[in-house]
């Protein structure tokens, strides 16, 4: 009986063989769906089902993409949008993590700031965009502000939750070994709340991308959102879609990146 317990293979090993089939199958179905959609999109205007002026075609979008990358000052606009994005996002990280830690470890701070924080989190921060423009002008500053406002709350709230919802059994165990408050913070609370923090970052990416683009759509002189607006009003659906795809690819890549780190860190929580 003892040997059976000792030689028991970890649960992980057993699961690997099963997960082998699963993603490849979903990948096949997913790819087929995309191909079917592209084909339908390509032939629909030719068949007269839709007006090609409004829908464009995959081939047109493809050539527009080449054109955009070659002759559209693409790097100039991308640099502006990226600057706004990262300036706002990094600022949000710098402010929100310490704030989240403070709120997560101090009950009094939490009672004090939690309700307004919740309200701000739930309200779309984009409603502040007109005020930001009045205060900060039409350059990069109001977009950075909106990115910051969009990203800061999910990170604060998730960090706070990760810290304050630490398993009390871990805290008691740590105290039983004579852990100081500082030990508990660095060895229990911080590693324990890392997955929640990453969840906050992931949610923040989406809001930050939205902030940049909507900010630029609203009022701007350059940037990806500016280009979107430009080609929208000029009815250049092909180019408009190229920019839309670039934006979603950017947000998607960043989200996947954060999620993969998150999954790695969260691994130990899975079961």
């Amino acid at each position: 009986m003892r040997s059976a317990e000792m030689t028991a293979e970890p649960a992980e090993a057993r699961q690997l063989s099963l997960s082998f089939l699963h993603p490849s199958r979903s990948a096949v179905i997913g790819t087929l769906a995309v191909i079917a959609f592209l084909v339908l999109w390509q032939i629909a205007p030719a068949m007269g089902w839709v007006n090609g002026r409004f829908t464009s075609r995959p081939t047109e979008v493809f050539f527009a993409a080449i054109d955009v990358f070659k002759n559209d000052n693409f790097l100039f606009h991308a640099r502006i949008s990226l600057t706004e994005f990262f300036a706002g996002f990094i600022l949000a990280i710098v402010v929100s993590i310490p704030l989240g830690v403070l709120l997560g470890t101090s009950k009094i701070a939490r009672y004090l700031i939690d309700p307004p924080l919740m309200a701000l989190y739930i309200a779309p921060t984009l409603v502040l965009l007109p005020i930001m423009v009045i205060w900060l002008g039409i350059d990069m500053a109001p977009k950075i502000a909106v990115v910051f406002l969009g990203a800061v709350f999910p990170i604060v709230l998730n960090t706070m939750a990760g810290m304050s919802e630490a398993d009390p059994r871990f805290l008691r165990m740590a105290r039983s070994f004579g852990a100081s408050k500082f030990d508990i913070f660095t060895r229990v609370l911080v590693p324990g709340s890392l997955p929640a923090l990453l969840t906050g970052l992931r949610l923040a990416v989406g809001r930050a991308v939205l902030g940049v683009i909507v900010g630029e759509l609203f009022v701007s002189q350059a940037g990806i959102g500016y280009q979107l607006n430009l080609y929208g009003s000029a009815m250049r659906i092909d180019r408009l879609l190229v920019y839309a795809l670039i934006v979603s690819a950017f947000g998607y890549t960043l989200t996947v990146l954060v999620r993969s780190v998150e999954n790695k860190v969260r691994d130990w929580r899975s079961k």
Binding site: P10, A11, M173, R187, V188, P191, V265, W268, R269
Partner: protein, 264 residues
């Protein structure tokens, strides 16, 4: 002088959201000699875990005193280590990382941390699993890690709070034998809380039977079964005798509980 000396111990709790005070433990006196293995048994709500946590220094005393080697305890200390019931392993640390945790907290300076941890991991029979994470281990293996973590800091007194309570009966029996094997090496003073009668007898030099309302000691029973022990003693005459006695105690508790429920 006994190693653990508990005198007139009382622990009161204030019920949350009211000013009602209730007594978890009252009038408890107990001496434990160095090297003695003492089990504390009783039905749930008899304050046995509270008593253990008080010795660990994790619960503050309302009345009375607890001394270890003649010194009044004041919070947790390196002379004691606790093995918790379950889920007290840090899930983001490997087996080795978890065993090192206590050593890190106590700023261990008795040689290489890794070497010390590995030694303990091998002692509990998990040498091959030192890089595994808790979620990859069975319940029994996790409790082995829990024991290794407590032993690593080389405490004078080992405190165990129903460490095998969440395990199935068979694993539990194996773990009991394993625990005795490990304990026999240096015979550290041990306090072991359980609600399992067989476990209480099998491990003990001395069984403390507790009753409830408020938690108090009903009887202290000496166990004179020979050591080292194995499963065979479960069928011995003396063991049966002790089992009968403990069962009578617990049955008494159960019937008084039923009475309370009927009144309510």
């Amino acid at each position: 002088m006994a190693q653990i000396e508990i005198r007139d111990l009382g622990i009161d709790y204030r019920k949350p959201k009211s000013n009602e005070v209730f007594s978890a433990v009252d009038n408890v006196a107990l001496s434990v000699e160095k090297g003695e293995f003492v089990t504390i048994v009783g039905s749930s709500g008899c304050g046995k875990s509270t008593l253990l946590m008080a010795v660990a220094g994790l619960v503050s005393l309302t009345r009375g005193s607890i001394q270890i080697d003649g010194k009044q305890i004041n919070g947790p200390g390196p002379d004691r280590a606790v093995v918790f019931q379950e889920a007290s392993l840090l899930p983001w640390r490997s087996v080795r990382g978890n065993v090192k945790f206590g050593l890190e907290m106590q700023r261990w300076n008795g040689g290489d941390l890794n070497e010390r941890a590995m030694q303990m991991i091998r002692l509990v029979g998990l040498g091959r699993f030192s890089d595994y994470h808790p979620h990859q281990l069975s319940g029994g293996m996790r409790q082995r890690v829990n024991i290794a973590r407590a032993l690593a800091v080389d405490p004078q007194v080992l405190l165990m709070d129903e460490p095998f309570g969440a395990l199935d009966a068979q694993t539990r029996e194996i773990m009991g034998t394993e625990l005795l094997r490990i304990w026999e090496r240096d015979k550290k003073t041990a306090l072991f809380v359980t609600h399992d009668i067989d476990e209480a007898i099998f491990l003990a030099d001395k069984i403390v039977v507790m009753g409830r309302n408020p938690g108090h000691i009903k009887e202290v029973i000496k166990v004179n079964l020979p050591r080292p022990r194995n499963e065979a003693i479960l069928d011995s005459e003396d063991f049966h005798e002790l089992r009968k006695r403990l069962r009578a105690h617990l049955a008494e508790d159960m019937s008084s509980m039923q009475l309370v429920q009927e009144v309510a």
